[in-house]
Symmetry: D2
Subunit: 318 residues, 4 copies
């Protein structure tokens, strides 16, 4: 722990520069590898169930440059719900604050695909980072741009500096085939007047985003826009909006484990059932970790622990 960093956070970035980041990541990898077999790989679609639980990757992008990658950090995985974060950024960029008329920004306190709150609150999802909220955001983007899924891909390629970045067609087909619960959600939103497009169209785009295959390095790069205004303009230009996206991530980014994650890690973050977690320390760095085995709340066991070790080591960073 770098106690000095906590005493004087102004020295945050400078302190970061004194850390041997390669060494730190290597030590973290060594510590969390044994956790890879704790938890369960997502099994709701066959394409995800097949992924080896032994994968572990991590990548960090430092403000102003500098990139460190360990383990399987260059192997693409299914980003799943991490895509919700980018969709929110795109929506704030394209549509602006009006999006908040269709979706709230409070933590849900319930499972990510629960219809209970959605019914209690009459079709307005609690926040854009749970399934119903992300479907609404996708629907709003789709209404402005009929080929939205392709546009999404184009921007992610640019942000990740990864021209070959693509959707995993097998994962996409699998999502379509096993998407009945999301279909129920989309029809419920439609019934409540909070879906513009046909549910099949909205879900088509939604499943596409979720099926994007990206590596830790690529996701950490794409997440740089949350570090500060000098980077990531292809995702979101307004510093104001970036700060606010971080706020939503802090309270809603890890499903119903947001509070526990805030307590252990303290960074704005977004997780996905593919086992990826993207986090950011504003002004300092973005970081992505990947390990497929999930805890009961749907978050990567080894991934969350790796981030806890990272922030403990860089304490005061957030």
């Amino acid at each position: 722990m770098d106690a000095g960093a906590n005493t004087n956070p102004d020295a945050g970035l400078a302190a970061l520069e004194r850390v041997d980041m390669s060494d730190l990541l290597t030590r973290i990898e060594r510590q969390v590898r044994p956790l890879c077999r704790r938890g369960q790989v997502a099994s709701y679609i066959p394409a995800l169930a097949r992924v080896s639980p032994d994968k572990f990757g991590m990548a960090i992008c430092i403000a102003g440059g500098g990139e460190y990658v360990v383990g399987d950090g260059d192997e693409p995985f299914s980003i799943q719900s991490v895509s919700k974060l980018f969709n929110l950024a795109f929506a704030l960029e394209e549509i602006g604050e009006d999006i908040w008329g269709r979706v709230g920004r409070e933590p849900s306190g319930m499972s990510f695909n629960s219809l209970i709150l959605l019914e209690q609150e009459n079709g307005v999802p609690r926040n854009p980072l749970i399934n119903p909220g992300a479907i609404v955001v996708t629907d709003a983007l789709l209404s402005r741009q009929p080929d939205w899924a392709e546009a999404f891909l184009g921007r992610m390629r640019q942000a990740a500096e990864a021209p070959g970045l693509a959707f995993d067609e097998e994962v996409f087909a699998s999502e379509e085939r096993h998407g009945d619960l999301n279909r129920a959600t989309a029809w419920f939103l439609k019934a409540k007047g909070n879906l513009i497009n046909h549910p099949d169209a909205a879900l088509g785009a939604y499943f596409r985003h979720c099926s994007a295959a990206m590596s830790c390095r690529e996701l950490a790069r794409a997440g740089r826009f949350l570090i500060g205004p000098s980077e990531g303009e292809e995702i979101c230009r307004s510093p104001h909006q970036r700060r606010r996206i971080c706020a939503v991530m802090r309270t809603c980014g890890l499903y119903d484990a947001a509070g526990d994650f805030a307590y252990r890690v303290g960074l704005p973050a977004k997780s996905g059932v593919g086992g990826g977690v993207l986090a950011v320390s504003p002004g300092r760095y973005s970081v992505c970790v990947w390990s497929p085995a999930l805890d009961v709340k749907g978050n990567s066991v080894a991934g969350v622990e790796a981030l806890a070790l990272l922030t403990d080591a860089l304490e005061g960073a957030s």
Copy 2:
């Protein structure tokens, strides 16, 4: 907006020093005064209902020294639920992580005095900053120190540098007289085995804390321990715990408006139905604002707006 602060947060505290803080607070006061009549003064107890809605005070304590106060910032008011934050800090200091065996740290997504989640989760309150959680925390402290209410007062006097700080006996009596819902909560906790003391004893101490009368200046001072490790040792010594208290405040500090507050203000904070809100920018400053009229979720209308203006002016601070 100080864009530079966002570009380079390392310059955060330095940037702060260049701000004319007196002038900023004066401008904020002028802007939010017209909001004082929006919302409703808490009316569940007569002693609170009598407070004039025209009060507005604000005080800020800068890291390393420097204190700025405007309006009614030296007039004592009922701190109410802001006390929950200090109780949590005391509990982590005295009892340590074991407290988390009796209370969670997830946002509740529901009103601060709802029994629904408490029943669904079998008597383990969602977090220590809602009523049921704060009653459990008080109960734990009371079990270690039978005169806990007095001890609480002693520490608050020290932290606030306010030897005359006292409980408002009228508010206390009023709380006792109108505390039936909290009594229901305490008996429910007792029934579920999550209350050690008799409900009357636990509530006695709980109502005492809530009835402490403090000014913005005093609360901002007492909140300095969250800025960083060099101050506030009388509240909580561990830097680790301070960071974690901030995490809980971020997700749970404003009842079921935590997400909206995070979005608009972005600082860890705790509000009370007396109209006070204490917030902190780690490494930089603590701030307390007071205006009695509340929105439907129980948070000070003018107070929250004042904090939003403050953080907009010091953007990048958090």
Copy 3:
């Protein structure tokens, strides 16, 4: 009130024979006509919203013969949820007790189309007389007989002695067009593994039953099978099952007003948003009443009052 009937219920049917039924129905019609404008005609589909609220009809079929009709009792209306009762009877006849593996028989305590309980109970609807339960029952019948909607119609024609009985194609088309909430329900059931057919197919049959157009006289006739074993074999043969269908009607037949209806009327019954209510006094008579304006819980205002007057007049009957 016929106090004697209550003293000696054995004289129930005999007592009934001494009542001037034509006169009684005429008096009831006169009393409840003024209530026809209280409440709201169902407006969720245009085809129902167009029905005049001034309609009132009533028909009663006495055990062993005898049929009395007043007002608009020979005018067909949309039976809507009254069809759920017949589907349950058909399912018990065709499938038997196994149907209870897919649907419960407890009152829901919630609105007829709520998804909350359905989620809490993992896709097993509370009972067969609310929408999710009726969709499951329809699905089970459809799996045994692909042209189930036609078979349903055939049996209803026979039971109602109404060869011309038909689906109202306009209502059916309207249901299809505005059935998004039911679609959400069906997809949710599918997601939970409690729907065999494609949601569109199950809902197609379900909407067809709901769109059947029948008069009070026809529905009262079709309901005779609940009076006793000597009639109505085309609906359900087992006396045991008939008694049990009555039990389900008693606790679940009037949405979340079952308790109030039991208190005021005391007969097993099933209501529909078309304004029809079919009730039965086992061993004595079946009765159908129709008035389109509904109370907030979806039951016919004048219809329920007419039944309360009827049972008050024939007290002890049930």
Copy 4:
């Protein structure tokens, strides 16, 4: 099965007279005795936990006279929630329909001591046969008669023709000692303005009623008032009210198993965690069964089965 009874219910009582009731009860006892060890004896208070699960008693009172008792039908047991039924009858007699301003009459769909619905419906209990509703009813009676518990006892002695009938002081003390959940409920009602007396006073009377010790024979006698107007005037005079009490029992008498019980047994009934169930066939008989081992919903396993066998044998009776 007596099919004739179903064909012509007018012959109901006459048919009953042809049944060899002693023989029937003996056969039922033999059939259900093996079930006595299924389920769990209530353990929330020591005084109940001590009762032997091997007890089984049954008593039936025929309209117009005739009383049959088998097994342990003359051994007193704790009537517990069966007392709620009598309290409701007394309240309708003493206070009349006004009681419905303070308590509903819909099934709760939830556990008997859940606070969830109570909160959702703002302190108005769903019905008078669950704990919160019974506490409200007791409170209303207590407000009219400060020594209500004694008055209750006096009336029960008269109705049961049991001058020695008394409260079980040990059970009462045990209830008081372990009544925290009911205390939470009472304080919640107080907080919502739906309790006139101090919670301790209301619960004192409530716990007293629950602790009354009565045998099957005595309870069956006390339940005769529900058979018809010629008996039981000491409980409730109005035939209208009796019919309505039956309606509430049908939908709310067996906690959240009301629907299943209606399906299997079909009689209005009220159960208690002491293992007793009192049921009535209006116009024909009252019956009480006792076996301490309960199913997961709190109803006597052997008791419910005994009633199912009884009504199967006397089919058409209800």
